[in-house]
Point group: C2
Chain length 396, copies 2
């Protein structure tokens, strides 16, 4: 049995390089940029009026004039207009190119307009109300770095530079595998000794949030069926997420079948609760990475967040975010197990606080629905005290 | 011009009741439960072995026996087995129904098994290693309350009770409308006076994160085209999100066209920066709710988070989460505008800290990509100090 820290290190050291793919911009949210996004022109691309009003040549004011004849209108979407005389003006609309021969924009609120003449009624600063060409970014500047996870604001930046297709890091193909004769499909009525499958669909849905359309497979406790099913799954996927079949039971064939199929066991059993009988391996030829979680729903759910997500982040070369929470009740953790305790969190000013939820062991699926995540507590002699800041793994 | 607080109150007071719909469990993540989820049987549904080993009748030990003959095996997925004699035992696997006539499970690690006999080598507590029927939840108990937003852990709970289809609150139909002659499609090469559309796709992607497949529309600055486009959009959607066309420009036809089409203006212009020329209205007959944002990308993005999301939460009857951050630099806000300042956030222990990003006004699209959200600062005489805790609107 190894410690949680050792197990974690081994898992992330088996990262996969998954390559990249092109996806339509509208589907790129949450993906990781494989190439940097560069400004195809200056931002903004021209001197842009930021107010509706008139554009003038400031020299007109310097020569004492505060009443200017309006020559015409420059609106957004028009080619750049030209002011014909430095003592006249053009009406200009927000988003329009500031006309040639003008250098200052005065908004309607500071004017009165009558009979084709604009009367300036407030003080004017030369160059005001212009968003200058290239003042945000210049052509060729890197706007979004390769490796960035795409958020909604990044979509706008990419749209602006014409990135209708985006190069992003590819995601792994994943199969979520449930094992056990006691399991029936969600839409079935179980017999008294049966239960419905819940782990594989939970994993599928959690993966779908990441953009991974995982397949699902149910293996009965039959050695030959497991062998055939796993062989196919190993060939077709980058990652297998199994639940169940790795304890010491008579029908827990997974470890020996894995061995027979050429999977190298990296470790089995971790000094942690929940999730202790976790089995982790890698296929020597296909490079498939296998996370075989204990069948209890809390164990599977915890280990998915504790191991698979950091593995995925490491494979995509994005940071594994570490969050922290402040304890609101004392806790005692005895050696030798690292404990992951389900908590509800709430904000108290800028501080995130954590309160354990009532739970009934790792078979208690309903407790998971009450929790916002797990706090991670290493065993130690002294109690964890109220106000102490501890690591937090969010699961919502 | 009204204050931000007044505008916010008016927006959320125009919530829509959108009804409910049935969706497949696998697509229900992030949706809001329209009906509570109830346990269709006890959780767990039978006395369940939590370890691999043997099941015994504890009276055998009380009568002095520590070596028991193994009658057979009870594995997960088998009908409940029966122990034939109180002085023998059955092998039992994790997840199996605890056999009739047994009351205690002893794990393999505490046994030696030889020639069909189990020798008990550790102390045994009566009733150990059994997850008792109904100990998590009893049949008929509410497992997930109506009104809960569905997370991945909830998927497992719903799978367990056979909720293959889930009743969730319906989402609004939304159209994201860009206005302005200067805009061209993302895949086009703009002429020098043009820019690519970015607001409508940003909104579409942000909405898709919520499960809303919004349509998009581009209206040129032509009164007749705007009239026809808006008339159709008003009829077909619950919500319109417009960007641009609500300033004081000559081609800002939106407010007057809205009026002509039977939309009641609730307010126009809010004492805030960015996002001041925000126009909000409701169609008297169709009940369509219209958010008409200023065209600047920062303004549109800010107002989407400041107004539309709280409106949606209120319509779905889920709480609007308020987050707080701790300032790491002092800030001064002068009357009369409520300021929304783009910040990067980071954790310092359990405290979320906020640092303003460099930005270049509300036309600066690239600044948005650097920020994690906006802090909300009301104008006041005194500066906001380092360490002060302020409201935060996350945008990632």
């Amino acid at each position: 049995m190894i410690t949680f820290k050792e197990a974690y290190k081994k898992v992330v050291s088996h990262r996969l390089d998954l390559g990249s793919e092109m996806v339509p911009l509208i589907n790129s949210h949450g993906r990781v940029l494989a190439s940097s996004i560069v400004a195809d022109r200056d931002f903004p691309p021209f001197n842009r009026a930021t107010k509706d009003g008139i554009a003038i040549n400031y020299s007109a004011l310097e020569s004492g004039s505060t009443r200017l004849k309006i020559e015409g209108v420059a609106s957004a979407g028009m080619y750049q207009q030209q002011l014909k005389s430095s003592t006249t003006c053009l009406e200009v609309m927000t988003g329009a190119v500031v006309p040639l021969g003008t250098d200052t924009v005065i908004m309607y609120e500071h004017l009165t307009i009558k009979d084709g003449w604009a009367n300036i009624e407030k003080e004017v600063t030369k160059g005001q109300n212009i968003h200058y060409k290239g003042s945000d970014e210049t052509q060729g500047a890197v706007l979004l770095q390769q490796g960035k996870r795409i958020g909604s604001a990044d979509i706008g930046v990419m749209a602006s530079v014409g990135a209708a297709m985006v190069s992003v890091k590819a995601l792994p193909t994943v199969c979520a595998i449930a094992t056990g004769n006691e399991l029936v499909a969600v839409e079935n009525i179980p017999e008294p000794h049966q239960i419905r499958k819940s782990n594989s669909i939970t994993l599928q849905v959690a993966l779908s949030k990441l953009g991974i359309a995982a397949t699902a497979l149910h293996l009965k406790d039959d050695k030959k069926a497991i062998e055939e099913g796993l062989q196919k799954a190993l060939q077709e996927n980058d990652v297998l997420l199994l639940s169940g079949g790795v304890s010491k039971g008579k029908f827990d064939f997974i470890p020996e079948v894995m061995d027979a199929l050429g999977v190298e066991k990296v470790f089995h059993r971790v000094a942690q609760r929940p999730g202790k009988p976790f089995w982790f391996g890698v296929h020597r030829t296909y490079k498939t990475v296998i996370f075989s979680f204990p069948g209890n729903p809390v164990s599977t759910f915890a280990n998915y967040h504790l191991y698979f997500l950091p593995w995925l982040h490491t494979s995509l070369e994005i940071p594994v975010e570490t969050k922290f929470v402040s304890l609101v009740s004392p806790l005692t953790i005895q050696a030798p197990l690292t404990r992951f305790i389900q908590v509800e969190t709430y904000w108290e000013n800028a501080r995130l606080c954590a309160k354990p939820v009532t739970e009934n062991g790792s078979g208690d699926l309903t407790s998971l629905a009450k929790a916002d995540g797990f706090i991670c507590l290493e065993p130690r002699e002294a109690s964890y005290e109220v106000g102490e800041v501890v690591k937090f793994v969010a699961t919502r």
